[in-house]
């Protein structure tokens, strides 16, 4: 497998991969004539003078089709899946991919149509200078001496010119003069007429839209734009919150859409130096370096003298502003540099400097210029620290401003639209390009799916679709199957002895109605230290122990990790950790204990409830991955497969990805193991397999289609020569980067998000896909989950595919309600997360048949 495919499928290293040829070229310009094949990269931007041949120039222009305008200067690029056309391969959805079940509902989504005048096209010209000019700025200055010929609207990147109007001739020769009086002949040649939907145009729209936001006096921070004029402050922590927008322009169906969502930026009017002073005061000189590193590393800062953001990677304890760095040919101290360059005085000459490893490429695609040294006094903190996140008051204040009701959200977006349509400068910009935005949100037709019936203990019941939760309905009903607790342990610290006792009593009380037989647990006290907890576990957990309950005094991660590590790897036993705080409130204890009892039952192999699945011999597979930070960036893949008709028993496997390996390669073995387990349980192999592959980012779809699908097919084949099965593979792109929010047409109900199912008007015509909103949200808007069927040889009707997916959203046993994604995805996610966060090792295979990670 090539490095490129790997980068694509992992979604990392975006924008770096194609840089390689450019970087090489910049270093060795002499190679240029012989390396035409490589010219697609970034190196074309600033070739050494004279090194660029006529042919090379032609190549460059042709190559531009695949390269985005925004890529210049090493910025990240947006990936599009626009080339992924899977639908044409699936006979049964060629005609229609819409479902039929349910009642119609009108929805509004956060999309606006971009309108262009009829027969609109973007004209792409290649611009050639004779003699060749090195500087891009000069090239652009020379070209725009001819504005009367070219028109007011133009975009030029140094070699390629875009115009909204066609020039009179296909080739226009212009003459300019440099400041030095040198005559330059400029040839402008038409190379392409781009229809509104071409990928280059999409890039162009996005760039233009950014310009528009800037005209509207929005500030760019990172990749998004925020409005500085109406901030919200939380003085206690010097927080300032700016409202803003995340936007992108994409093609959906036949129209170009602006997808925009409200976003907020948390800024702090506190410099890193202020922060350091406070910290030193709090923790003393001794512990300061350690605490400082812990608090600061990883934070994003914003510099005072430009709008750049950096991630703090390290602290240079041996550097102060009096240190010097090389600027051009001379050494200059940081102190003097900021004084002369920006008129900024450094008040504390002893502050240590911050280090950021800049990944951004240097000018003209050169490798990064090395780590940036930053002066704390000139760096503002951004975002929230973990400490703040844990502070309920801050989060409450924040939530009151950032959590918006559907109406508020809609009105914010509408305000943006009206600003766009009212602002004369913006309109001017748009009309010179012959474009405009529709001034209302996109309306869509969705369907509300009928709610499912939950089957439990020989009975079936319905739930309230507006809350999508059946905690109340299941009270008093026995579970499908219960594991009796005969031999189990409860660990607690001395301080929590009392709560442990009351938990035990309450568990006993609630387990009866659920149908769980429960013996008294063996109570074991441990000292509040990690080593003594581990020792207690080692001494007491035996082979026949069915369940271990540990009451943790705080929600500190290390003890939790220690318990899980030991009981998932070394001594495979289902375990349940509870933070003492959760069970310290007597009035909530019944509810909590019920949840704990349910969870313990699942972990030992019990089954809670089910929904009707009208397909037989079916195996559902869920796949997700987690990118581990602690284990040296080893990614973790988890696979979960159903073992029975009711989707109540699951086989789970987790693998750690090896370097240079595709996650799916590692999971192939797991899939085979799952099929074997299915065979063991059912005495037959499944005749139909449906795979839900989560964790696919935008832009990775192609690699899933090209690489993962054949891998899955192949591993199924290994189960036997004649074994054939129907296979569906769905990717659920957990609508990550930009959510598509829906607002219900009915104004009456502010919390419209319910157990509903909206299949949207085939948003992407070339794929077989659908959107589902399964979860209920109490507050705010809901982002639907987007499902793409990338492979289907089963012929299952779209309606059934959608309903089955919806049914599976009911089957997550850690939540007595409907979840956002199908249960297998949620399980796989939970497993991968547990392993990635706490265990960092492959769990013991004795646990494979249990939902031990819940």
């Amino acid at each position: 497998m090539t490095g490129r495919a790997r980068a694509r499928s992992r979604g990392r290293g975006r924008g770096q991969e194609p840089a390689a040829p450019g970087a090489v070229k910049a270093a060795k310009p002499v190679m240029a004539p012989s390396s035409e094949g490589q010219l697609v990269g970034r190196g074309r931007q600033k070739p050494a003078p004279g090194a660029m041949s006529e042919e090379a120039m032609l190549q460059i222009s042709a190559g531009f089709q695949q390269v985005k305008i925004g890529e210049r200067g090493g910025r990240r690029r947006d990936f599009h899946d626009s080339g992924v056309h899977t639908r044409q391969l699936m006979e049964h959805v060629k005609e229609s991919k819409t479902g039929v079940s349910g009642t119609a509902i009108e929805l509004r989504a956060n999309f606006m149509r971009l309108l262009s005048r009829p027969l609109w096209a973007l004209y792409q010209y290649h611009v050639d200078f004779k003699p060749p000019m090195e500087s891009r700025r000069l090239r652009s200055a020379l070209l725009f001496q001819h504005e009367e010929t070219l028109g007011k609207a133009h975009t030029f990147d140094g070699a390629i010119l875009f115009l909204p109007n066609k020039l009179h001739n296909a080739e226009t020769v212009l003459c300019s003069e440099t400041r030095n009086g040198e005559k330059v002949e400029i040839t402008v040649t038409l190379t392409n007429e781009l229809p509104p939907s071409s990928p280059v145009c999409l890039q162009f729209y996005n760039i233009m839209f950014r310009r528009i936001l800037r005209i509207l006096n929005m500030q760019q921070i990172g990749r998004h734009y925020y409005n500085p004029d109406d901030p919200f402050n939380i003085p206690q922590h010097r927080l300032t919150i700016w409202p803003g927008f995340v936007t992108t322009i994409l093609q959906y169906e036949s129209s170009i859409m602006l997808c925009t969502d409200v976003s907020h930026k948390v800024l702090r009017s506190e410099t890193v130096l202020d922060f350091m002073y406070n910290l030193r005061q709090q923790c003393g000189d001794q512990r300061f370096p350690e605490a400082c590193t812990k608090e600061l590393v990883g934070l994003i800062i914003l510099t005072k003298y430009n709008n750049k953001t950096y991630r703090i990677d390290d602290i240079a304890w041996d550097h102060t502003p009096n240190n010097t760095f090389k600027k051009g040919d001379t050494e200059i101290s940081f102190k003097n540099y900021f004084k002369t360059q920006y008129g900024l005085d450094i008040t504390d000459g002893n502050q240590v400097l911050l280090v950021s490893h800049v990944k951004r490429l240097g000018p003209s695609g050169r490798p990064p210029p090395g780590p940036a040294m930053l002066v704390p006094e000139f760096c503002y903190l951004t975002g929230l620290t973990d400490k703040m996140r844990a502070d309920f008051n801050i989060m409450k204040d924040l939530a009151s401003h950032t959590r918006l009701s559907p109406e508020q959200r809609e009105s914010r977006i509408n305000r943006l639209i009206s600003n766009i349509n009212r602002n004369a400068d913006v309109q001017n910009e748009l009309t010179t390009w012959g474009l405009s935005f529709e001034n209302r949100l996109l309306s869509l037709n969705g369907r509300v799916l009928p709610s499912e019936r939950i089957i439990q203990g020989g009975r079936a019941y319905e739930y309230n679709p507006w809350t999508a939760d059946w905690t109340k309905e299941m009270r008093g009903l026995p579970l499908i199957s219960c594991m009796s607790l005969d031999n189990w342990l409860m660990f607690y610290t001395r301080r929590n002895a009392e709560v442990a006792q009351s938990l035990l009593q309450t568990l006993n009380k609630v387990s009866g109605p659920l149908g769980i037989r429960m013996q008294r647990a063996v109570m074991i006290e441990y000292e509040d230290r990690q080593e003594s907890l581990l020792r207690a576990l080692q001494q007491n957990v035996a082979r026949e122990t069915q369940m271990v309950v540990v009451i943790l005094p705080t929600n500190r991660k290390d003890k939790y990790d220690c318990v899980k590590k030991y009981l998932c790897v070394d001594c495979p036993t289902p375990s349940q950790c509870v933070v003492s705080r959760t069970i310290s409130k007597p009035q909530a204890l019944m509810t909590v204990a019920t949840k704990i009892a349910l969870q313990m039952n699942c972990k030992m192999g019990g089954e809670l409830w089910s929904v009707e699945i009208p397909l037989r011999q079916l195996m559902i597979v869920g796949i997700d991955c987690y990118h581990d930070t602690a284990a040296g960036k080893r990614s973790i893949g988890a696979l979960v497969a159903s073992l029975n008709q009711g989707m109540s028993r699951w086989f789970s496997k987790c693998v750690l990805q090896n370097r240079g390996q595709e996650i799916i390669d590692a999971l192939k073995g797991s899939l085979q193991a799952a099929l074997k387990a299915y065979l063991k349980y059912n005495n037959s192999l499944p005749s139909r397999i449906i795979v839900y592959r989560d964790g696919v980012g935008d832009g990775m779809l192609q690699s899933v289609v090209d690489y993962e699908v054949p891998q899955i097919m192949q591993s199924i084949k290994t189960m036997g020569q004649d074994y054939e099965t129907d296979l569906n593979i769905l990717d659920d792109i957990g609508v990550g980067k930009l959510s598509r929010n829906f607002y219900s047409g009915s104004e009456l109900n502010p919390s419209i998000e319910t157990a509903d199912f909206y299949s949207l008007l085939n948003l992407l015509s070339l794929r077989y896909d659908f959107f589902i909103v399964s979860q209920a949200v109490r507050f705010g808007c809901v982002a639907p989950t987007h499902y793409n069927v990338v492979f289907d040889n089963s012929g299952l009707k779209p309606d059934h595919m959608q309903r089955l997916t919806y049914k599976l959203c009911h089957m997550y046993y850690n939540w007595q309600g409907i979840v956002r994604v199908p249960a297998p995805c949620q399980y796989a996610h939970k497993l991968a997360f547990l392993v990635g966060q706490s265990i960092h090792k492959e769990p013991n295979m004795n646990l494979d048949d249990f939902l031990y990670y819940l």
Partner: protein, 395 residues
């Protein structure tokens, strides 16, 4: 053409203007021929009290392209400056009279006049010195006597130069200007030659004119009538009342909250590290211990469910002091603000003792809430998708 100067000559010219601004602290500065707005961008950082910064260029395309580099930075919003700053860019010609350009403290014309025809220089002189009559003018232009030292140079330094003056020519012009319009002038420059070439003078010659008469009174700003406004931005500053109020209140609340936290922490330590309970306020102890101390050091204390932070304590924070001239002013500002709770006499800020505790989400809802039945598939109808599929395939 490479010039052997370090830092580069254009930088030295900008630095010259910056140094001038630093010394004379003009409030209103106009830069003619600002082109890519480099000087304006520098002056925006080296503000030294500039309140109005105007750039004029005849080419609006270049202004449009570069104008956003003059926009405030995020940090300008996070910590608004004390003084106001407005930046405006105009498209217009230096040979035209524009009423809104009158009454400036400083006009800079960096490498501008040599781009004008000599006739236009006359008009420019009349407009700038006669009509606008600013407090000071900085004019820089190439020194033709230096040209032989520039390697490979034939003719003028730039194709667009209409002339390049010797020192004598420049000074003749300048002296005439002074006579006619009532200015004094001194000559200097940047970019010195080395060794025996020294006597050719600076590479760039600079004339600094000072108005002899009282500078024009700060006339009210007029709307431009001849020039075209291309860009205008008002920087956030503490002179804006809303921003001032917001900044001050934030600062006060930050300080007060910190005092409160500190007090709570101390209270907690007093009762044996038990994080869950606060000791009854040890008010007397504090009062006694403190009153003897300095008079303005007043203790934080608890009264019922409020913690009282004396205004004087908040006032002692340097950041608050910097924002507010006096305690009286501080009090007046805070009394009118809804975000601050003050005692009746305005000497104490009231803050709650307890943070709101996390409320458990309402678990128990009305039992009566009826379960809505949803439309759709009949409750008892059993589905079989397998069979449907088969029948579909057969048909």
């Amino acid at each position: 053409m490479t010039t052997p100067f370090s830092p580069p000559l254009y930088m030295q010219r900008y630095q010259f203007v910056i140094d001038y601004v630093k010394t004379y602290r003009p409030k209103k500065v106009i830069d003619f021929g600002c082109a890519e707005c480099c000087l304006l961008k520098k002056l925006k950082f080296h503000r030294n009290g500039i309140q109005l910064l105007v750039g004029v260029d005849i080419n609006s395309v270049v202004l449009l392209k570069r104008m956003h580099t003059l926009a405030p930075l995020v940090s300008d919003y996070l910590q608004p400056s004390d003084g106001p700053l407005t930046i405006e860019l105009y498209q217009g010609s230096v040979t035209e009279r524009e009423p809104c350009t009158r009454g400036f403290d400083l006009v800079t014309c960096v490498e501008l006049i040599e781009h004008l025809e000599l006739v236009e220089v006359e008009r420019f002189t009349e407009v700038v010195f006669g009509y606008m009559a600013p407090g000071a003018v900085i004019v820089s232009t190439p020194n033709a006597e230096f040209n032989p030292l520039l390697p490979g140079l034939r003719g003028f330094r730039n194709y667009d130069h209409k002339f390049e003056w010797t020192r004598a020519e420049f000074q003749t012009w300048a002296n005439r200007v002074c006579q006619e319009h009532g200015y004094s002038v001194y000559f200097t420059g940047v970019g010195e030659a080395v060794g025996h070439w020294r006597d050719v003078g600076f590479c760039t010659q600079i004339a600094v004119f000072q108005r002899i008469n009282q500078p024009m009174s700060n006339a009210e700003r007029l709307e431009p009538s001849v020039y075209k406004l291309v860009y205008r931005v008002v920087y956030p500053s503490l002179c804006d009342n809303n921003i001032y109020q917001r900044t001050l209140v934030s600062e006060v609340l930050y300080e007060a909250q910190h005092l409160r936290q500190e007090w709570l922490r101390r209270m907690n330590m007093d009762c044996n590290n038990n994080a869950h309970f606060f000791a009854p306020p040890l008010m007397e102890v504090f009062h006694h211990g403190v009153q003897a101390d300095a008079r303005d050091w007043q203790p934080v204390y608890q009264q019922g469910s409020t913690i009282c932070v004396p205004l004087a304590r908040v006032w002692s924070s340097p950041r608050v002091r910097a924002l507010c001239g006096s305690v009286q002013r501080l009090r007046e500002e805070l009394v009118v603000d809804a975000r601050v709770r003050m005692s009746a006499d305005g000497t104490v800020l009231n803050l709650p003792v307890y943070d709101d505790v996390e409320e458990e989400p309402e678990e128990e809802k009305d039992e009566e809430e009826d379960v809505k039945t949803v439309s759709g598939i009949g409750n008892n109808m059993e589905e079989d998708w397998d069979r449907e599929l088969e029948s579909c395939g057969n048909a």
